[in-house]
Amino acid sequence: MVPKFKPSPLRIRSFCTKTVQQNPHHWPIKQITKTNFNESLSEIKNHISSSDFIAVSLQNTGSFSSPWHRVSTFDTPETAYLKAKFAAERFQILQFAICPFKLQASKVIAYPYNFHLFPRDELKMGMPSYSFTCQTSYLTAMAKEGFDFNTCIYDGISYLSEAQESTVKVRMGNPMAVDHATKSSSSPALSVADTVFIERVRSRVKHWKNACTDSDIKTEAALVTSLRKIVLGGEQFGSRPSMTIDVCSERQVQLVLKMLEDFSDVLVPLIIPAKGGGTQAVRAVLTSSDEDKDLLKRELQTFEFEQNKRVRGFREVIDLISASQKPLVAHNSLNDFTFIHSKFLAPLPPNMNEFICSLRLAFPQVIDVNYLLKDIGPVKKMTNISATIAYLKNRFFAPIEMEIPNQANENEGKIHGHNVVKICQLFGKLCSILKITPDAIESSDDFLASAINRYANIFYSLPGSSQEPTNEEIRGWTNDKRKVSCEDVVFLWGFRERISAGILKNMLQGSHEVFAEAFNVRMVDRSCAIVVFGKPGLSNTFKNVMNSKAVSGPLREMVSDGLKAAGYETYQRVCSSGLWESALADALDKTLASHNCLSEAAYETKQSEIYLSNELINLAEL
């Protein structure tokens, strides 16, 4: 036996550093860890069901590893989704703040909770995640804000996604009660082997049952009892005697179950699933009476319930939110909900539409405050919530009173999870400015529904535009209101590094006649730039020129130095094939190379792509 030891000598290590709080706010936010999770659940459930909205905010271990991995204005919703997907699959959520809130006149009544999460592999099955990536700069920034990594890793709540839970159920090998669906009604035709098998098992079961029910046993000594157990192959299931019958096939399972029906007055059959699916054995449990039988069935149910609860962990909260069907409010919804989908629902689907459909099943309404913000005027996309609140404060008179009736727990003063309250505040302000007034909300639910619906489920929108973007249009510049068709965009790379957009534009200006018309250059990262042509059709001319022998003059010089160009479809292919190299130039090169190898494979040949493969053949000839 392992002697219990006092934790005190070990604890020393955890006490040697205490996080210093630098910026004490006064919003009491309930901090939830493994230790107080279960006791808080019912309270959270009440707050969720009585709320109008639920704000969510995440603290992740990273977002984008290279400048071009960041969702930018030149992304279509599809590429933006693929970028967000890539991040959500690699990084981890360390804190999940939720805040059910009510809007009443100019008052927000909020119940903020901040959950500390850590993906602990409690079942030793590589779940919820085998590993995750951390970005140093993120961790350093979190450290500066006083984040307590020890609390997070020691006491973080684990979880499993819905998809993982269902695979786990099979693999855990918990005995399952036999429901009638598993019993096949048609009695199978018996072969000789089957009959022999059944009779052998039947006699074993009979012996065992008789031995168990025999009252004489009670007088036997302990040694004899245990010997008897070994001989008869009996074992205990909880407090009841049971017997395991090994089976080799599903057919034998059926045979055994059928045979056990003869003993159904006292025996309850259970199926022990094998690790990789299928059945490993059938276990017969002996009960003393009908009441005892019911009791056993109930026990099995509660056992399963408790175990599922333990396995689900934090997902219990996600399930509560999902079940409430309340509208969710987020600040950077594409980012947050790709994370939520991949960690708590299922692996992310390959494209944006499927993602939205799948997400809508769990959360019917998701509202992005950034999107509401667009309705009040041409505001640049603000990444910082505090800055946005300050901006609104300067321009509009919409005082919002925050009321947080939470009882402050001992973690009070920790600054974690404040963003979620700020989101509530911002949302309150925006609703008041946009006249989705709290009165209206109280008076008619239908009005609320329609007012909010206008803003719901838009995960990616172009700044300054209140229309939902299509996959053909992007916006080249943040402060530029013009829409740009993907057709007019060309990616350029292969120039010397650390060049500025200005110099590159100067260089291009004199190089070819297509650049006589208005065009714009923007750097994507150090290695790659995009050129946006003002006049339709010029991009094609340029791409043609780049790959023909006729290329001459300064442009020829640049091409000889390694300059390369590709259309937007190549960029889309980079994102969809997952070639997330750290420099976009490398990713584009690789995509072109692999596309060259199997140009007719996998991709449906669109006009632009046929055109592209022609280009590459030309390139090879040069």
């Binding site: 996080t19 602990r120 995750f132 700069s137 020691y154 690790k275």
Partner: protein, 711 residues
């Protein structure tokens, strides 16, 4: 974190109960705040040391389950797996424990240091953000041992690898090249012209007036020989007259960056004898000044001076971010004997974190490691390969904590227990700061500093059992050259799982002979050209089903074993190499034809679903070399970009020839190890022959027991 799972909690509980007899002061923890002082004292300790024991704690070991170490790892694949691990995971704790023999006290003196390290992005380097992977089980394991993550992330010592330092210095050099500052100006000018509008023009005019006013006053005063008038300083203190490099100058405060750009433009356009400079002032914030200059040549001189200063500053900040690498540089330059426990992965981590990117092949890696660290000893090999030590270890496991408690009971359990001190024991005295103790024991296992200390103690005791008398060992002599140790130096386990050992000084690989009888699962030499990797098959198929399926086609003795890489992939080991190409050919033709014959073919069960892929061992290596790590092997193959279903072997003869050549080479060329090698080769041969005698069923059975454990 380390792969030393056997944990004896019991031992710790016991030792904590006997702490009354042992001194318990904490290990020396080194963080950002005390790094400089610790480094200077450590420098002396390392210089005086006879050997230095090290240990590392990492954020994980394998980035995907199929990257774990298997019996089926050829040495090059094994290296690729180690390389992947070292590249992806971070080192968060580094234990250094220099051991010095003190002839007066007749004991070793050691100074265990426990460094918390965490690489921050302190320099504006190009490209990707610093990232590292965490394996959740490893983090949980560290948490179980109360690892202080806050100390690591909040206060860990940062570092730069040699390669990163070179890159940063090159970047500085190119930035401060003679012309570059000017070209930077002209570059800005292009942008500035776009910024003009009416408010900008008015502002520029105002600035022009004020500057000419200042300049006029300055020139007047100079002619009159009086001091620079202080009255110029305006109420808002935006213009402040100062002296910059002994020249009158204006320091600009409180302007926006746009305004500063306009001022810069005005200066360049209208004032020949003024120069606009941006210099980094004290407390590292940049300062904008306009300096009065007499002539163009003076301007050039001034510019150069400023530029040189900035360059020096930039270089200084690079030097300052070297951080923990100073310790590694010290270990390397002192050429001390480095002692680790099962430390191949540790060495790979040290290489990738502090020197540069890991080479593509094991051979290159080994030769460069040997250059940086000429003497390395692995205590795990030492304990397993020497019969005296094996006897001492009483055949117990060679995990670090076990070895420590068996070999150094007087330290592990406190010195009171007299019956244990019958065997000659080496005394080790621990010194932390100025506190000393000869029976110190207050470290926490799996804390790098304490693990390094244990490793050093095990090594010291092992040396004494080998007959090395420290009393007669002169301090000038390098312990690594001691003839009793010589045969153990620079041997590392390439893989503990299959006992393959690599010699860092020669690059030769041998498999373990002495300890082989101790291993539970010792397998005959694996012929890699007989192996096919199959993945993407229906998930309900298990190793047994696959074996049965293939045996139906090629006969019951054709398949030696089927081994699960993970739930989506298996290795199929055939009895003869030519069956590999036969199998791949057959699979390819079955995939191609969809006629009833192929549907009824015994292999069809394996190909069900149409996603089953197969290829030779070389493809497995290729997939291992990818930087991507998907959890499931089948997903990984897809991510690597494999779109075919079967990769046929071009000419199996060629690869076979190559393989046998390699084997001959490994057998013949090992002159340095003399007698021992001969024994080894003999063992190899006997293994080979025993392999042919073993019935295939036995082998399969042993594989199955192994497999059951794997799942």
């Amino acid at each position: 974190m380390k792969k030393r799972w056997p944990i004896t909690i019991l031992y710790r509980a016991f030792s904590s109960s006997t702490t009354s007899t042992t001194a318990s002061f904490p290990l020396k923890h080194v963080k950002k705040s005390n790094f400089d002082s610790a480094l200077s004292s450590l420098r002396h300790h390392i210089q005086a040391a006879d050997f230095v024991a090290i240990d590392l704690e990492m954020t994980g070991i394998t980035s995907a389950p199929w990257r774990d170490s298997f019996e089926f790892d050829r040495f090059d694949v094994r290296y690729l797996k180690v390389k992947d691990s070292a590249e992806k995971f971070a080192v968060i704790q580094f234990g250094v424990s220099p051991f010095r023999w003190d002839p007066l006290k007749q004991s070793f003196i050691t100074h265990p240091h426990n460094f918390f390290i965490f690489q921050r992005q302190e320099l504006p380097l190009d490209g990707a953000a610093y990232e590292f992977l965490c394996q959740t089980t490893s983090m949980d394991f560290l948490a179980k041992y109360q690892f202080d993550f806050n100390a690591c992330i909040h206060e860990g010592v940062s570092y730069l690898s040699r390669e990163q330092e070179d890159k940063a210095l090159k970047h500085v050099n190119s930035t401060y090249k003679d012309e570059s500052l000017d070209s930077w100006h002209s570059l800005k000018e292009i942008r500035d012209t776009h910024l003009f509008n009416i408010p900008d023009i008015l502002f520029a005019e105002r600035m022009k007036d004020r500057l000419s006013e200042w300049l006029g006053g300055l020139l007047r005063n100079r002619d009159e020989g009086s001091e620079v008038q202080p009255s110029f300083n305006d109420s808002k203190q935006q213009f402040e007259t100062i002296f910059f490099k002994m020249r009158p100058a204006i320091s600009l405060n409180g302007f926006t960056s746009h305004q500063l750009r306009l001022i810069q433009l005005v200066v360049r356009k209208h004032f020949k004898d003024l120069a606009y400079l941006r210099v980094s002032g004290e407390n590292s914030c940049s300062q904008n000044v306009i300096v009065y200059i007499e002539s163009e040549s003076v301007k050039k001189m001034l510019m150069k001076e400023v530029k040189d200063e900035q360059k020096i500053d930039a270089e200084m900040s690079i030097k300052a971010s070297i951080g923990f690498r100073h310790v590694i540089d010290l270990l390397s330059s002192e050429k001390k004997l480095i002692v680790g426990h099962n430390c191949f992965l540790d060495i790979a981590h040290i290489y990738s974190k502090f020197f540069g990117p890991l080479p593509l092949t094991a051979e290159e890696f080994i030769s460069s490691v040997n250059k940086y660290f000429p003497h390395i000893i692995d205590t795990k090999i030492l304990l397993n390969s020497n019969s005296i030590l094996q006897q001492r270890m009483k055949k117990s496991s060679t995990s670090l904590s076990k070895a420590f408690s068996v070999l150094c009971p007087q330290i592990a359990l406190g010195s009171k227990s007299t019956h244990l001190s019958l065997q000659p024991s080496v005394k080790v005295e621990v010194e932390v700061d100025d506190i000393r103790s000869s029976n110190w024991n207050s470290g926490v296992k799996h804390e790098a500093g304490y693990d390094a200390f244990m490793t050093g103690c095990v090594f010291a005791q092992a040396c004494s059992h080998l007959g090395i008398d420290f009393k007669q060992q002169s301090s000038s002599e390098n312990l690594a050259h001691n003839e009793k140790l010589r045969e153990h130096v620079n041997l590392l386990y390439l893989s503990w799982t299959n006992g393959e050992i690599i010699n860092l000084s020669t690059g030769n690989r041998t498999s373990e002979s002495l300890a082989s009888n101790k291993r539970k699962n010792h397998y005959p030499k694996i012929l890699f050209e007989c192996i096919v990797i199959v993945w993407g098959f229906p998930s309900h198929l298990k190793a047994w089903d696959i074996r049965e399926c293939i045996s139906k086609v090629y006969g019951p003795t054709s398949v030696i074993s089927v081994y699960h890489v993970d739930e989506t992939a298996v290795f199929v080991q055939f009895s003869r190499a030519e069956m590999v190409s036969k199998f791949l050919d057959l699979k390819e033709s079955l995939d191609r034809n969809n006629d009833p014959i192929s549907v009824l073919h015994p292999l069809a069960k394996l190909l069900e679903g149409g996603n089953t892929c197969a290829a030779s061992y070389e493809t497995y290596k290729e997939i291992c070399s990818s930087t991507v790590s998907k959890v499931l092997f089948a997903d990984q193959a897809k991510a690597v970009g494999i779109k075919w279903k079967t990769k046929l072997v071009e000419s199996s003869d060629k690869t076979k020839e190559h393989e046998s050549l390699r084997k001959v080479k490994a057998v013949n060329s090992d002159p340095s190890c003399g007698e021992r090698t001969k024994n080894k080769n003999f063992d190899d041969v006997s293994n080979d022959s025993s392999y042919s005698q073993l019935s295939s069923d036995e082998i399969i059975d042993s594989f199955y027991t192994r497999e059951a454990k794997q799942i």
